[in-house]
Symmetry: C2
Subunit: 248 residues, 2 copies
DNA sequence: GCTTTTGTTTATCACTTCTTCAATTAAGGC
DNA sequence: GCCTTAATTGAAGAAGTGATAAACAAAAGC
């Protein structure tokens, strides 16, 4: 016994977990095109055994999605956004701090990217969730906190989402550089992201007000009093000054 | 004649270009694991013909690297960083404006990501180039402009690079979301990035000074006068405001 | 016209892909 | 101990992989 060439007989539940965990690590490393034979080899089992537990490779991948993405989504992320005991900036900071710690993960990032490359809609759906469940409510709260029109008066604009996605992207990029592009990771990624977040959040309120103000002016030119209590914002002058980009 | 099932006979030079361009589009779409047979089919030629022009799939991919990445690198990017006629913030803005326009490209981004996933060192080398040829000189210039110690007195720190990579990443992420993750692209990505850049650049000087100050304190605790002339900071940043277009 | 040159294809090799199914072997209940 | 149950494997199928070599066919030179 203890035939090293033969897999130990496991309870299905254990074997399944072993396969799922192994598959996560494997597909993260080689991408979702990874071959089931190689996966089986790494698990120390034969390839047909995989098909005993998952009817097809695609089913196994679907299971990975649930394990890595859906199961790791925390409802508290949505809760902290709604917490009016905190300024919006602070809510955003807390969300990103924890969210980024969750996704700063070899498997999370690489399978996400691989799925994107293969045209699977996981990344689209997942980021749609971030947008709708976190960013949209947060922008509504920011509108409120900054005395800007509510979303039902002036719908949330692309530019507002881009502000949040911009900060978000800067943080994600820390992990991408290390875990996808193969550069050296910062010594302390958490601290690196915290510093980035700090310096990005400083200008967020002002930028948000400026974006909304522009949207308002576009909607009804020349009307209304200044918004977002500009007199308390010292840097207001330049963000709004530049007449947008190369064009519309 | 005009047998639609048979490839028109081309001059080798033309055929090669056709193959390279087709391969770029093809591998961008399906990733570098794409199959040579499918590539040939899309080109309307037979698969062995590919091997007449490129000894192996890997050689073809190497050629793609040169075409998509090395050939599109602009020496002027390094030049603008050195241009002391402009404030550093403005140099950075111009670099990123143009650089991002170049890499905001289906093939550029997707092949880059695919290469990263497959563990090829193109992304590592390429971003190393950005770091050494653009970010390092820029940080040195920023040190000078902000009256901070020169890099030979205090070596450039990880945290300083992270500031630039943070802004860089926020801009790259605009393209990633659309071209890799499959979300809708912003209506005007150039304008979106310009707005992001504006709001990110506002705090850059201050953040840079803070990072360097911390590094200094870590090196020799308790010493020296405050740095970065904080009292003159605010006005100076945008004094030389963006004169016209993305570059000379 | 014919021959030479060379761009292109047909046919094929050795190997790998995902998947299936009957045979094998280990564990649990009696 | 034996018997039942089910976890695991061996063997194989149909299709697809990168790569090769010889055959074909369209231009170019004379």
């Amino acid at each position: 016994m203890a035939d090293p060439t033969r897999a130990r007989r496991l309870r299905p539940q254990d074997r399944e977990r072993q396969i799922v965990q192994g598959a996560i690590a494997f597909f993260a490393e080689v991408g979702l095109d990874g071959h089931t034979r190689e996966l089986a080899r790494r698990l120390g089992i034969t390839q047909p055994l995989l098909y005993r537990y998952f009817p097809s490779k695609e089913d196994l991948i679907e299971r990975i999605y649930q394990e890595v993405y859906l199961r790791r989504w925390k409802p508290e992320w949505e809760a902290v956004i709604a917490d009016r005991g905190l300024p919006c900036i602070e809510r955003f900071r807390r969300f990103e701090s924890d969210y980024q710690r969750v996704i700063h993960d070899y498997a999370w990032l690489r399978i996400f990217v691989s799925a994107g490359m293969k045209g699977y809609d996981l990344p689209r759906r997942y980021l749609g969730m971030v947008r709708e469940r976190v960013f949209a409510p947060l922008l509504a709260e920011m509108r409120r906190e900054y005395a800007l029109p509510a979303p039902d008066a002036l719908p949330l604009g692309e530019g507002e989402f881009e502000l949040l996605f911009g900060i978000h992207g800067a943080l994600v990029y820390v992990g991408l550089r290390g875990l996808v592009y193969g550069l050296a990771l910062p010594e302390d990624p958490v601290a690196t992201r915290a510093a980035l977040l700090d310096s990005a959040l400083v200008g967020l309120r002002q930028a948000h007000c400026a974006v909304v103000r522009r949207a308002l002016e576009a909607a009804s030119p020349g009307g209304g009093p200044p918004l977002g209590s500009p007199e308390t914002e010292q840097e207001e002058t330049h963000a709004a000054r530049r007449p947008s980009g190369p064009h519309p």
